[in-house]
Symmetry: C2
Subunit: 354 residues, 2 copies
């Protein structure tokens, strides 16, 4: 089934069930109001939501309405935990100390992970509001899962059973504060503003064969200002699958229902041509990686970062051509009100001034 | 007023109002069930809880009952955000690269902060359940606040207005995974198991003159296995006050109601004697600091870390001698069930074997 949370003026929104093709939706009010409620007691609520989903998909839900992604908050608008794990090591290597050397062994040995903010998660069409456009504003397309309770010491396989829902995410990173924070012992709080999520979160079974081995074998499309930036493969090059990321997280503590595990940005391995020159034909899921590639190939980056007024769109389509999660489509803008437009000068005044 | 959350088998517990002297309590059921509800709409709920608090303190609350800290979950049993900030720089310096050099300038310039887990916060008497006792188990006594909504870019003074409640905290750190995580770019997820909080959270006005300049001017008492370990002053040496920590956090994003800002461990400046030798007469609020001091004075640490079966008690008393927040009193124990006691050998069998 596919679930979304509709804006209703509250902090947690209203849970809706969405049809497989994202055309229609139905309030889950009769079952549960909020997604966290469902996650807290999944075995009780999920079958009821599944019934509603089946009715909706077969056109038999009585109060269905057209689904509008712009009405969506993040599927889980605030979460009790969110972590970000490095799963695509080609990306991590390109942004590391030795981008030329491929993926170092220590990255392969165990995932790198850090806690992220989860008090304020953005809906797919919410603007990214920032104080400054000169801080190296970068998007980051990734896959995220929402978990149920997972026991301390769970194996990767056990942890996989705890995955309830899968989503797309856009993890905005401010690269300047990130660099400064890295120098101060990885203080990420100023480099990671609110993360956004796709309109719907889907149960793994909705992905069919694309969900295999704890990975979503899907292409993640990224567009920056409507221009294609990446058609990245989220499956093949994901070194640590979600079960491994979760096992890393719950090594010394239990994980509670409603935890979001973000993996990203997606990053693919380079292709080496007959001339021995590497290329990245699938593009990138974040700007920093593209700049790292440019630096590697040309000695310096030629792509700048995002500015106010820019947009980023992240989406994934199944084999049937349908959008799986709906699209993240965000505008980057200032936290200051727009300056008032200059007052039009009356024609006679203009004449007098001339 | 003083608020606590009673265990009731649910994930969020039941909100209770506690008398100033911690002797009695009263369910807040008629007003709100959960603390997060109150934080979401503080101006609506706080006056009603204040009325109940006044009635309780004057002995007029009709259904008051004896308050039992062992019944408490964390005041906020799960939170949408938790951050840990370095506020006591003498502590940070002792654990840094140059413990002999005092507090370096870069630590004074801006707080160091990282996101922490908040899906599973422990009550004051909950055991600390861990998979391994050889990982350098350390306690960490600190002060924490729970905030309301704070705007992006808020000044330290504006941020102070967002503080709703003050608590004591015990931030368990596993020093071995912490060292390994540091080497891997400060991956804290395996070194920071669940954090515990005092039985009650109090509004800043309950601290009277002890709440000044965004700091709690209180002595934090730490006992390890019932032996005094520290009587640390949480006020004087707190370099960054809570408003400054919060302003650091909300520099590039807004902060939403129910965010916990942990500061700690408390650490005090050394005293230099007539012989020029430094000493730390107030003791320590964590073991790692004591070991750093021992290393500095004697060339090597003589204090070990905690083992299964150890206890830690953290409390703070006001000038009237009363416990302000109640005591955190935790047992460290294994996540594995106790091995069964060896079966007693029957006397005749023992004789036969002999």
């Amino acid at each position: 089934m596919k679930l979304a949370t509709y804006k209703d003026g509250s902090r947690d929104g209203q849970l809706v069930v969405v049809s497989r093709d994202l055309s229609t939706a139905h309030y889950a009010t009769g079952i549960a109001h909020r997604l966290q409620q469902v996650l807290d007691d999944w075995n009780f609520f999920a079958p009821q939501l599944q019934d509603l989903s089946s009715a909706l998909n077969s056109g038999k839900a009585r109060h269905a309405f057209p689904f509008d992604p712009a009405m969506c908050m993040a599927p889980l608008p605030r979460a009790f935990q969110r972590v970000e794990g490095q799963a695509w090591l080609h990306h991590a290597a390109l942004l590391g100390d030795t981008p030329d050397a491929g993926v170092p062994d220590d990255l392969r040995a165990a995932p790198t992970m850090h806690q992220g903010g989860s008090d304020d998660l953005l809906g797919p069409c919410d603007p990214v509001v920032l104080p400054d456009e000169t801080t190296g504003i970068d998007f980051g397309a990734g896959i995220a899962v929402i978990t149920g309770d997972v026991a301390m010491g769970a194996t990767p396989e056990q942890a996989l059973d705890g995955i309830r829902l899968v989503m797309l995410s856009n993890g905005i990173v401010l690269r300047e504060p990130a660099r400064a924070g890295q120098a101060r012992g990885s203080d990420h709080v100023q480099s990671r503003p609110a993360t956004a999520f796709s309109p719907v979160a889907v149960t793994p079974d909705e992905l069919g064969e694309a969900w295999a081995g704890g990975r979503a074998h899907l292409t993640v499309q990224c567009h920056w200002n409507s221009k294609r930036f990446g058609l990245c493969d989220a499956g093949a090059d994901m070194h640590f699958h979600f079960g491994q990321l979760m096992a890393h997280l719950c090594r010394t503590r239990r994980v509670r229902a409603g935890t979001i595990v973000n993996a990203g940005p997606v990053g693919n391995a380079p292709v080496t041509g007959d001339d021995g020159r590497r290329s990245w034909p699938k593009g990138c899921a974040c700007i920093a990686e593209k700049r790292a590639i440019e630096t590697l190939l040309d000695g310096q980056p030629s792509t700048g970062f995002m500015r106010f007024g820019d947009t980023v769109r992240i989406e994934s389509r199944g084999r049937d051509g349908h959008s799986v999660f709906g699209a993240i489509d965000q505008l980057i803008r200032s936290d200051r009100p727009e300056p008032p437009a200059p007052e039009p000068v009356a024609e006679d005044e203009a004449l007098q001034q001339a």
